[in-house]
Amino acid sequence: MNVGRIPLRQIDLGRVVDLASQLEADATLDADALRRRDRTLGRALSARVDDATDRVSAWLDGLREGSGPSAGERALRAQRVLRTLLALAGLGIGVGTALAVFAYDGSHPVNVVQVLAVFVALQLATLVATAVIALPEAWRRRVPGLAALQDVLRLVSPGRAAPALRRALGAEQREAFDRAAGLAQRHQRLYGDAQKWALLVGSQLFAVSFHVAALVTAMALVGFSDLAFGWSTTLEVDGARLHGVSNALSSVWARAIPDAVPTRELIEQTRYFRGAAGTPVDPQQSAAWWRFLLACMACYGLAPRVLVLAFANWRQRVALARVFASLPGVAELRDRLDSRWVATVAAEEERESPLSSAGARAARQTRPARVTAVRWSGVPIEEDAVSVLVRDTLGAEVDGQLAGGAGASLDDSQLIEALAAVDAAPLFLVKAWEPPILEVLDLLTELRAACGEGRPILVWPLSLDEEDRLVPARGADAKTWARRLDAVGDPWLDVVIRTELA
């Protein structure tokens, strides 16, 4: 990874989808390998990128280096295609609406009231609906009925048409779009805010396109055809009242464009009733309305939509950045990137132990009546006690006693020689708590060679009881001795353990 070449990009839908995909893929990897990989990248990044979220973004780019378009990029393209379709729909409907509202065939003038209703009143009403949808998530729980109202308004928002237009996408883009939608569904708590603003961006794109198209169409009609304007309504509205409304509406541009403010005379002279005979208004005189109407469309239709679009776009970016920073797994990723990698475990696998308990089990045989006792490696028992213990427990007589192993005066070869020279079977009294090491097994093997086959050799593990008296061993220690000596494979080697005595 070449960190120096990573350009930091803004967080958009594509980045979020890519990050979520990467984190999902990483979740299947070994945690240690992941930690190591990310720390290596993190160390390289920490010197170049200060902000933690930017580091995550750079990390994502670093991992994706050299591959083709990512799922996120495809999702982003899909989103652009869908938004373009929405904008095109807005343009078409805008042109159609303007043609309908500004339709003039010479019989009746264009009704100013209709223009204001469609391009001002209706727009202000939908702006209120937009504002309701845009209210913070937390308010949904606190204001009674708000959640239901928002849900209903979302149902009629043009932004909702985007998923319905997905059929227009190519297979790859559709799959990427569905992936993004699935992600949002799985992590609704995280994506809720971003989804809301995405919906509003879609809606406002539609609305801006609608108003641009309507405005341009109206200007074209004004410029390339002759229109006559008048006003007519069933309501009891007189000229003075409409003048008040028009003055209020044109207060925004009154100083800059005084010609776009209707006069009282114009209003009085351009009122008409469809049932009245003759030409309702003088077309030349009524044409003075167009400036006012176009200014209304620009000021109350287009301008607020452009502002709301910019706001929604900004909020969407903020929400996506928040999602990017709090996706499941991002906290862990930051930890892996920024925390030192500490490992204490072994670097390689442990080698298998060659130990096996599959040796020949000593043949059960009649215990010898006479033994030569060997106190091995300082087993803590007096000579007198040995005779008593052997007689009472094994029913054998002790012909003689020797000391062997560590701390004894005889070395191993002298001990073997002494034992081989007598008829009594050797009986080794060993400490059960010390394990049977190879040194003991060597001695037993050498003793067998010296004594020849058939002669019993006994090993008796002894334990200490609570009062530190020697007693026949039992439990794990005795079993360890039995298992280890069985592995020697000497059929005349007998391990005396307490369970057998019992």
């Binding site: 945690a31 720390r39 160390r43 998530e137 937390a138 729980r141 609704q188 708590r189 995280l190 809720g192 709090s326 499941p328 906290a331 862990e332 930890d335 925390s339 030192r340 990698w341 500490v342 490992a343 204490t344 475990v345 072994a346 670097a347 390689e348 442990e350 080698r351 298998e352 132990s353 060659p354 130990l355 490696s377 300082g378 803590p380 192993g405 560590a406 701390g407 191993d412 400490k431 708590w433 010390e434 394990p435 049977p436 090491i437 190879l438 040194e439 060597d442 200490l464 794990a476 220690d477 079993k479 360890t480 298992r483 280890r484």
Partner: protein, 465 residues
């Protein structure tokens, strides 16, 4: 000869706990520990690495198998005390690969390469003369050394060992590899610095890094537990139904699936916590972690793990009082605080009634046709406390568990366990209440919950917790 990187060979008689000490100090429960002598057949290094830089190395070695005969060989070739180390080197050179003294060659090699000696004995068994040959050979290597008395079963022979070891080693310490809490492990590592002046600095740094890493582990665990609770709180199970299907027929099986999924999530959370503490084999080893195997949905145990009835009622009453208080305020106090009183009474009663109520079934109409039977999310206010109580208990046991310990996790018999909620500061308790409520309402509060849990986890990791 001293190794540039602090290196410690853990040596001794077979079955005295060498591998246990390494396992606990390296936080690695993959180390093979068995009663049979000769389980460890080759040296195995456990380097402590920080961003690939090695701070120190522990080396587990096979036990002495033929120490008397090895010493006899050396003594036959002894010329003067200054040449002892050369004799040991010659012994290794001559016997390596011959099969005669394989274990001795293996364990002496790291010492000849500059490792310090950690000689391990079992303080629960008596001292014996068979150890003297081993200690003498180690003395001949001339390496700095320390004796560790590992009381495997009890400490009945510790003093006897201390007296004997004192004749061969300047430093003798007692370290129970199966029970040592984290602080004792750090203390021992710090103590290794006494072996060589040049090792002291790197070891001090390593100890600081390990302590810092422990705090990070607490945060990771907090995040894992918070994520688990968050997911469990909003978890639902659904089943599509046709218009003419009888929903009641599917309710029992759907509820069962919902419960199973929650149980699985809790288990997965536990495995994650164990993994974060380096216990990767605990599942295979343990069969009787009885207290936690009690069913998550056994509501009889809920008052043990979570809020008891009094706490539940108090919590419900407080919430009700706040709502009622709003009414009092809205009427300018004309209600004479009746709103608060009634709210508290209703809230408390509601909390009592719903204390063990799990969830409910809902049939939803689908926009594209058909119906959806939904079970969950959980409704009981006590449930997150129950899950958290169980998670804290499990964490305390896992965090305090030495990696050499291969016994089943179990609550000590007769242990009088204090209700953990009682110990919570009121502010933290209120914060938890808020977070659980917001999470239920669909708000993302994982990070806040994790932050809130860190002190509880640190407390659970303290010795004696």
């Amino acid at each position: 000869m001293i190794a540039a990187v602090p290196t410690f060979a853990v040596v001794g008689h077979p079955n005295k706990g060498k591998s246990s000490i390494v396992s606990t100090l390296a936080h690695d429960d993959s180390v093979r520990i068995a009663p049979d002598p000769g389980t460890t057949v080759a040296c195995r290094a456990y380097p402590m690495r920080v961003d690939d830089e090695v701070q120190y190395v522990l080396v587990d070695t096979p036990g002495f198998q033929r120490a008397r005969r090895a010493l006899a060989w050396m003594q036959e070739r002894e010329t003067h005390a200054g040449a002892h180390r050369d004799v040991v080197a010659a012994f290794v050179a001559e016997h390596r690969g011959t099969g005669g003294f394989e274990d001795e060659c293996e364990l002496l090699t790291p010492l000849l390469e500059g490792a310090g000696i950690l000689y391990v004995v079992d303080g629960s068994t008596p001292y014996g003369p068979e150890f003297e040959a081993e200690m003498e050979i180690l003395r001949w290597t001339g390496q700095p050394s320390m004796a560790l008395i590992n009381p495997i079963e009890d400490e009945s022979h510790v003093e006897e060992w201390r007296a004997a070891l004192g004749q061969y080693f300047k430093i003798v310490r007692v370290f129970d590899a199966h029970e040592a809490p984290f602080e004792s492990r750090l203390e021992l590592l710090r103590g290794f610095g006494q072996l060589a002046e040049t090792w002291r600095g790197p070891l001090e740094e390593a100890v600081a890094v390990l302590a810092e890493e422990r705090l990070r582990v607490h945060r990771r665990v907090a995040r894992a537990v918070a994520t688990m609770i968050g997911e469990m709180l909003v978890h639902t199970a659904t089943r599509k139904l046709s218009y003419d299907a009888d929903a009641a027929l599917y309710e029992a099986s759907l509820e069962q699936s919902w419960k199973d999924e929650l149980r699985d999530r809790e288990r997965a959370g536990r495995r994650e916590v164990e993994r974060l503490y380096g216990h990767r084999h605990i599942e295979r080893e343990e069969t009787a972690f009885e207290w936690l195997e009690q069913d998550l949905f056994s509501t009889d145990h809920w008052f043990f793990w979570g809020l008891n009835r009094r706490q539940l009622v108090a919590s419900g009453a407080a919430g009700g009082a706040v709502l009622g208080g709003a009414i009092d305020v809205s009427v300018g106090g004309a209600s004479l605080l009746l709103g608060s009183l009634v709210g508290a009474a209703l809230g408390g009663a509601g909390a009592w009634w719903s204390s063990t109520r799990l969830t409910r079934m809902i049939v939803l109409k689908l926009p594209m046709g058909g119906r959806l039977l939904r079970c969950g999310p959980v409704q009981s206010t006590n449930f997150p406390y129950v899950v958290l109580g169980r998670a804290l208990y499990h964490h305390a046991r896992v965090a305090g568990r030495a990696h050499a310990n291969r016994e089943a996790l179990a609550l000590a018999e007769g242990e009088d366990r204090e209700n953990w909620v009682e110990r919570l500061e009121p502010a933290r308790r209120r914060e938890l209440d808020r977070i659980f409520r917001d999470t239920r309402d669909g708000e993302e509060r994982t990070a806040d919950l994790a932050e809130c849990l860190v002190p509880l986890l640190v407390e659970g990791d303290a010795p004696g917790s």
